[in-house]
Structure formats: C-alpha cells, structure tokens
Symmetry: D2
Subunit: 334 residues, 4 copies
C-alpha cells in the first residue's frame, strides 16, 4: 500500500486511451493534429489566449519557463524548499545558463510579498550583484499548502512593480485548484503570472506536462529552446493526446479531487496535532515517532521519512479507498 | 500514402503493449523494475557489459553522449550533413556548453579515416584553436548508407590513436544492422565505439531511445546530466518497458527488416540511374523532375523534396505493402 | 627584425604615459574619472551617442558583442577565415552559451551581401534549424582587405532587412580607417553597425580594447556580462586611461598610418605578382618559395609561414624604418 | 583620505617599473620571456612544482579555478559571505556552466570542518541532488580573519576524505601570510589545497593575479579555458612582469606588511569593544553610530557603511601614515 509519491501512480484510463488513439501515422514533432489543438484547448480552459507547449517532465517545464523569464546573468527568487532549488539537480541553472537561484524563507514553503520585498531590498543595483529577474512559486507548495488567488495576485503585483517575471510551478496545480474551487485564470494570469508549469504526470498522465505562457511573447524562443534541449518528441501526438484527453473531459479535476479527498480522510484520521501543516492538497506531513512509523510499515504502508519525527504521505488519483481506509485506521490506532 | 518520415510512423503492437504492461504503480524515475533490467538486457544484446540509459529523444541521446565525450572547450568532428550539425537546433552545443562541431565532407554523409585524419592535421595544438575531442558518425547515415564493421573499426582505431572519443548516432542503427547481418557488437564496441545513440522511435517505438555506453565510466556523470536536462521521466517504466519489449523479442530486428525490404522494393523500381545513392537502409533519394514529383503526389504519395530534382522517400516498419507496391508501380511508370 | 605580428609590438609612449598618469588612488572598477569620460570621448569620435566599454582583449570584446546580439539558440554568420571562428578557442560559443557560428566564403576573408543572402536562403524557418541572429565582419579583414563605407552599408542594409544584428570586429579598425580616409561613423553606425570591437592593443596600446555600442540598448546587459566574465578590472583606470590617451590626441590614427605606410613600402617592394591580395592595411601575404623564405630568415627577418608558398608579414606602429627598408630590399633581391 | 578599498590603491613602484621593463617587442600571449618564467618563480616560492597562470582579475582566477574543480552538474561549498557567492555577478556560475554554489555559515566568514561536514551530511547521493564537488574558502576572509595552517589543513583533510577539490581565494593571501609568518606552502598545498587565486592587484599591482595549481593536472584544460574566456592578453608580458617583480624581490610581503600594520594601528585605536572581529589582515569592521560615522566623514575620511552601526575600513600598501594616524586619532576621539 504505497503512499510515497504521486509520481509513481499509474496513468488513468483516459490518458492511456489517448495513447492508443494517437497511435497512427501523423506529422512528426508537434505538427500533428493533437498538438495543433493545444493552444485552443488551453486558451479555453484559461479564458484567455495562451501558448501551450507540451513537455515530458516538470523539470523541463520549470526550466524552460525560467529560461524564458531570466537571463543568464539574472536571478530567480524562490523558496528555499522549492523543487527548482532542491530537487532538479541544477536543471534551472542548466537551462538558464547559470542564472542564480535566490532562496528565501517562509512557512510551509510559501512566500509572502513582504518576504520577497525584504529580500529585494538587500540587493544593490550594480554589476557586482546578480539582479533578480523572476519570482517562482509552487502551487500547491512542496508542503501541500495552497496559495489563494489573492495571495497569488499580491505576489504578481509585486512582480509587476519590480519588473520581475512570475512563474508558477504547478506540478500539483490541479490539487490546489480543486481545493480552492476557483477558476484556473484566478490562480494564474489574473494574478499576474507569466508562465505556468501545469502538471499532469502526478495527476494521472503517463508523461505529460504543459508549459502555459500567459505572456505569449515568451513562447516563440521557448519553442526553439525546447528543441535544443531534446524535448521535442518525434511523435508528440502521444503527449498532446494525453493533455487533451485529460483537459477536455475534466479528467484532471476528477483525478485531483480523488487525490485530495483521500488526503483529507487521512488528515482527519491524523488530527491537527499530528499534522505539521494543514492538509489542502494531496500531501500530508505527519508527526510520528520512529516506533510509530515502524508500526505503520509493518502493516504494509510505504512512505518516506521526511525529517526526524515526521513522515510524508502522498495520495494520488488511484489511491485505493480500501488502502486509504486502512491507513486512516492505522493512524488512528497509533 | 506517406513516405516522408519514419518519425511519423505508428508504434508497433509490442511497444504499445509495453505501455499497458507498465501501467501500474512502481518506483518513480528509473527505480522501477523495467528500468532496472536495462543494463542486463543491453549487455546481453551487445555481448559485453554496458550501461544503458533510456531517453525520450534521439537529440537528447546524441547530446548527452557528446557531453560525455567532449569538454566545453573541445570539438566534435562530424559530417557536414550530420543530424547533430544540421537538425537539432544546436542541442549538442547546449549540452556540451558550447563545444564546436567540426563538419567535414564525404560521399553520402559517410566519413573516411583519411578525411578525418586530413582534418585533424589542420588543427594546430595550442590554446587558440579548439582541439577535437570526439568523432561522431551516423549509421545508417543521413543518406541511408551503411558503415560496415571494418569501416567503423578503421574510424575507431583512428580515434584511439588520436585520443578522440567515438560516438555513433544510431537513429537507424537497426536498419544498418539488418542490412549487414552482423552482430551489434561488430558495429559498436568491437569497432571502438564509446557510446551509441540506439534509436527505437523511428523503428516502431512511441518515444524510446537508448543511450548505450560501452565506455561505462561515462555513464555516472551522464545520469546526473540526464536529470539536469529534465530527461529523467517521473514514470520511466513506460519508456524502459518499450525498450525491453522491442529488444527481448527481436521486435526491433523484425521492424527494421520490414522497413528495409519496403525500401528495397522501391529501389528496384527506381533503378540505379534514378538513385542518388545505393539503398542500404530505409531511405531512398530519387532523381525526378518537378513534373514527375507532381505526378506522384497526384497519385496520393507524400514525401519531401530534398534538393532540386531529387526527392526523399522513407519507409518504415508499418509501410503498407499495398502502398509500397503502388508507389513502386508509380515510379516504374514515370 | 620582427614582422610576425602587431600583437607583439611595444606600447606607444602616450599609452605608457597614461598608465603612469592613472597611477593614483581613485574609485575602483569603472567608477574612476578616466572610465567616466569614455562614453563622451567615443561619442565625439563617432559623432553620435554611443556606449563605450573598455575590455582587456579583442576576444572579450568580440564575444561580449556577439552575446549581446545573438541568443544561445541563434547563429552568427561570419567568414570561414574570421578570427571569431578560428582563433579564439570557442570564446564566442562560451559567451553566447553555445550559439552556432555559421561560416561562409568570400575572397580575402570579405563577405558580400550576395553571399550572405545566399546562405540565409538555405536556412529553413523552423525549430529544427538554428536561426541566424547576427552578422559579424572583420574590418580590416584577416587578409588585410578593407570594407569601404558602401560595402559595409550594403551589409548593414541586409542585416536590417533580415533582422540580424551587425557586429564589426575592428581589431585593425584604425588601419582600415586611415586607408579609406573616411569618418569613423561612415564605417560603423552610418553603415548600420550595432557594435564595434575597436582595437587598440595591436595599434600601440598595452592591453586596451573598446567595445562600442551604437545600439545603446545593448550596453546595460553587457556591463553585467563583463563583470560576470571577470573582465571588470579592479583598477579600470589603467585601461580607460590608455583609450583616452590614444583617442584624444589622434594617437591611434598616427600609429595606424605608421603601420600602413610600412606595409605599403613592403608591398611596393614585393610587387603585385607576389602579393596574394592588395595591401590595404598592415598585413601582407607574399608568395615566396621555401628557399626564398629561408633566405629572408637567414637575413634576420621573423615572420609566419601562412600556407605552402606563402608568408605573412605584419607591420606595426613601431616597425623600425631601417628594418622595413632592409626587408623591402631583401624582398626585391629575391 | 580613502579607506574604502585596497582595490582602489595605486600600484607600487616595482609593479609600475615592470610595465616599462616589459615594453618591448616579444612573443605574443604567454609566449614571452616573462610569462615563461612564471612556473619556475612560483614553484620556488611554494617549494613544490606548480603551474602558475596569470590573469587580470581575481574574479577570473576564482572562476577558472572552480571550473577546473567542479563539473557543471556539481556544487561548490563556500561561506555565505564569500566573494564568489556575493560579489562576482555569477561569474562562478558562468565559468562552471551552471554549477551550484552551496553557501553555509560560520563566524567571520570562516568555515570549520564541522560546518562543512554537517552540510555534506544533508546531501543525499542520487541524481536529483547536486553533489558537492569542491570547497572554496577565502584567506584572509571577507571579514579580515585568517585561517591558520592547521585550520586549513583540517579542511583540506576533509576535502580529500570526501573527494572534494579544494580552492583558496587568496585575494588577500599576502595579508594572511604575513600575519601568520608561515611559509606559503603551509597555507596551501601542504594543507591540501588544489588551487590558489593568489592576489596581487589589491596588494600593489596594476592588474595582476596568479592562478596557482598545486594539482598540476588541472592546468592544461585551464589554459584553454583562459583563452576561451578572452583572458589570454595579447601582450601578457605586462602582466607576467608585474608578478615577477612583486615575487622576486619580496615586494608582495613588504606591501602586505605595510597594509597590515596600518590596520593594526587603527585597530588599537578602536579597541576591542568597537571591533566586530579581531583585526588580522588589512580590514577593520568597526561599530560606530551614524553620528560617529558622519563625524569621521566630516574630517575627510572615506569608507563604506557595512551594516547598520558598522563601518568597514580597509588599509593598503600605500595608506599614508599621516592619514592613518589622523584616522586613529579621530577614532580615539569618538
């Protein structure tokens, strides 16, 4: 009974069917019929004209976005727990040709306008110092917290004021969105975002992420950078097909709801005292002793130790209800 | 009736089935059971211990290989018609951090030891001049010609003598191999190759290439570089599964034979006078007038104009026999 | 008696005096009084507002200029004999983060609009192919030929039409200018140039080049890139002082005239039959047999063998008249 | 009366004389007689065979050293106050092609083996995480503190044990050395250092730093990288000459002593209560109120405000004794 990562989940039936549907001869790269519908489909979803590029991984989506927003001699402000800072083996530095990530602090991997502004105030404006060029946040955050539309918009306003590009790492964007119940636009361009790494792989795709540019001027160079990075798949239709299948039937929302609901059940079982943070998406950070963690493993539950005295549980669209119930009971029984 | 690229072909049933087989929870990235079998499977195939890394595109495989063989201040000798030089939007330069491709000439995109040696003789050994660090050849070449084991070994010997790494772009390695009927080892490590970009996508995969290191010391850093390039798919089992399915049942050889046989039938129809080069793999370059090309298109055949008075025809594992026969007849009727 | 390179010449008295003059405490980097006068001095010289940045080497000037004009995924069209292509160990690729140099041909290392346009016509507009972003020419060329204002303007017009940045490597700009007798503006911004690497080191400086931006918007980012490349000297006043001393008293023109006149005397001695190219600046390429070359060396003359049957002679501001006369006589005596 | 930076000081007579001495025709780049003596001169100084490369700036020396010690996908552990982290506009990231600086904490910008080991323990060994490849310390530190031979050796031992390269930023190496009175070898290779950025510019040179490789295998590629970075001056003899003039007559030690003694006199005047750190080299960090700082400025003293309630004073080889006395008196009078 695995609760270690939504990255490891199976693909949902609709995504899998899209692979079969796309299995016919068509133009190569992104010249196929599926890829050709992406801009329109995502523009509809976001209620504004966007440029939507498929890529196979979230790391590629994030790095291409940052390369579009930050020159090699610039800096990207982010949280010190951000995936781009910690878990991508320097991919942002590779794609940006050495831009500097500028990690700052905040509760639950969330940034506030005050924290960002305070950091910006420390950077002197002269050639000796790397100048911040972009802000990147993760929604939901690496600790499963959600930025509301207002919180996002406050950061977006600061970016506009200071001339920073604004990127959102949405590896779990769907989970944030269904928690909030708002429109995708409210969490993105209406809040000032230039680019979104819109994750589908953790949410039931096989290998499917969409890099969405609300600032559409950034897309043209990025299409060259995607090719140059070896990320323009020869048979892109398999990737585009997944995205369309998951967007067009609201499969992405259904999947995220399933994951969030499973997490909510576990959260209820754990109770607030055991939770490091409120559970808003599909990740739980639970305080347990080493003995308690061992006891859970003995019962057949897989998960990561996060820090001493803390474990991470991640649910996904395909978390089996029986497993979730069993884990909830096991937690209650601790 | 499409003969414009094997890149656009459908995936074969075995590759597609591998996707379904892999559609269950497993460890993420390359920690899954399929990925864990790659080294062994490819070591068996090549009759020596190799390191085998999946990647989603040939451009990524080539670029990662070159980055392993050439420092940023070095050069990669290749043919002026090489895919790495012409068709990858500078991906080798991106991955190598600016190494210089050093294109030289040769018939049918083939390089000879004499041509390589003659080029090397022009490079003075001092810091003002980029020093060649690697040789990259394509087998089968961009014009569908095949390097024999002896021809490959002669280049490999030169590389060893001059201290150059030796890379083979094998986007159509299968097609070369079935033409020659030799062992995979004869075209690679026995001939001195350090790394092979082993193509499966053009040969019936969905998105599946294998970067094979015969010089196994190069693999460790490349695993970091693959992650850093955003090419470590979260659910790598879908990719590893395809490779295993195509290798373990000799599907890759069957597919390449189908493509080569289709090309041979078209070549026979065209006759040597119309062919720019002998047809050894699955590509034909055929001399036709503009009127003749138009006539073929009127009959429903799709293909690329290659140069004035020359078209390119590419067959694939799924070229329908009826289409091939029809095209052969149409060519004979010109 | 050395005629192998103007790179090896001594510094002129005015440049040397500038070092002493600058030897007092002042603000560090480019905050000093000398550096502060550069923009004004070069704006006067060029009869338009420019941004003028000192750098210590021509390679740095060229590479910073190209990085300002070409993105990492773009290309720089240049002559196949260009210094940037052949003699800078890949510095342009380093500074541009892997942009592709696109060498084309032309007599005497000169490019024509027709040759450039013919090349551009071969580049298909799609993400698989590196798109040219800039043109770089060398004036005087690597073979000592000079682009006239009209020739330069024709290239500049083509650049504007095709959206290319236009860079001039002026390592021997002074030599070209005094040959033509025109205004500096005529060879640069009036002809459409965006940036000039204005060389002083070969012309009597110690270590002094000026990167002049006519397209002033390019300067701001370049100031950061200069720092980031370790080229912002702590005591920039020694460098700025040289530039001012050589510009403000027309020392640069005097020096170039001395070098050109010495070359002209040698050219007259050699006669047109022996010269590979007309002598317009301070370099001569002279056809001599191996025996003749040996005979010149026996008499004490140092120079480079250029190609079989051809030597290169370079004069400089400090070529001693007696040495020049002796060499002229020796050539006549061959 | 300027106490804001040793970067702004004048050059010493010996360095200036070296410029004049070198002002004659010689071979270009580093083929001249001065450059040819560098390895021998620095090998003598360090009592072991070294490779010594001149460069014009400390930023270039640091960055070239780090590029030799750390691959693009690796990390460089350093202090969060390190010059390479804060004051070089991302130059290390540029030269290493995007390696990640990994800043950690320590009093007075000094690192301890415990702090380094504690950091290393946090880095999991897998491809998602940038692996540390090198350690860089600054001696004297950015706060004017000195690592002793023992302290340095303890860090060097840790580096050897963990497979890290070991770089020392010695912008003020001379100041550290004269404070300690030990041999240059004791602070470098005997303590396990692979490379030293040996600063001369802050210590009385015009533009002169020496990148010293104790691990001599690193030098060959670095010579290419230096050229590729545009740091191979055409007339390197002016730079090599300065280094020789300052080494061969112990000018560098004399200059550092002068600076340190001036600092010591100011420190005595300030008293330990006002000093943030003990004064071991030529920098003082002094607690003063805003009014006190203003009072000092009114008397004609120039310096930087460092943090609220703290100013930085830097002495140099040419700090005029009268100015030092005056400042000491003024501080006493606060």
């Amino acid at each position: 009974m695995r609760f270690f990562s939504d990255n490891a989940a199976a693909a949902c039936p609709e995504a899998l069917a899209a692979i079969s549907d796309a299995n016919r001869i068509d133009m190569a790269y992104d010249g196929d019929g599926y890829s050709g519908r992406l801009n329109a489909a995502f523009s509809t979803l976001f209620e504004t004209e966007v440029e939507a590029l498929w890529v196979a991984t979230g790391t590629a989506a994030n790095s291409l976005a940052l390369a579009a927003l930050c020159p090699p001699h610039g800096g990207v402000v982010c949280h010190s727990d951000a995936h781009i800072q910690n878990d991508e083996c320097g991919a942002p530095e590779f794609y940006t040709h050495g831009a500097k990530l500028m990690p700052i602090e905040g509760e639950g991997a969330k940034l506030t306008p005050d924290a960002v502004a305070a950091f910006l105030a420390t950077v002197r404006k002269a050639v000796h110092w790397v100048q911040p060029a972009a802000l990147s946040i993760t929604n939901a955050t690496e600790y499963g917290l959600v930025y509301t539309p207002d919180e996002t918009a406050a950061l977006g306003a600061l970016c506009r004021e200071r001339g920073l590009g604004f990127h959102i790492d949405g590896a779990r964007f769907a989970n944030a969105l269904v928690h909030l119940g708002c429109a995708p636009a409210d969490l993105t361009w209406r809040a000032g975002a230039d680019a979104l790494s819109f994750g589908f792989t953790k949410n039931g795709g096989l290998f499917a992420e969409c890099l969405v540019f609300f600032n559409r001027e950034l897309a043209a160079a990025t299409r060259y950078r995607r090719k140059r990075a070896g990320h323009l798949l020869s048979k892109g239709r398999y990737l585009a097909g997944q995205l369309l299948a998951m967007i067009e039937g609201d499969v992405w929302l259904r999947n995220a709801r399933l994951a969030n609901e499973a997490a909510a059940r576990l959260a209820a079982a754990a109770g607030t005292d055991r939770l490091t943070f409120p559970v808003q998406a599909n990740e739980l950070f639970v305080r347990v002793t080493a003995d308690e963690a061992a006891a859970l493993r003995v019962k057949g539950f897989d998960f990561y130790d996060w820090s001493p005295g803390e474990i991470r549980l991640v649910t996904s669209w395909d978390s089996e209800p029986a497993h979730v119930d069993a884990l909830a009971a096991a937690i209650r029984a601790l």
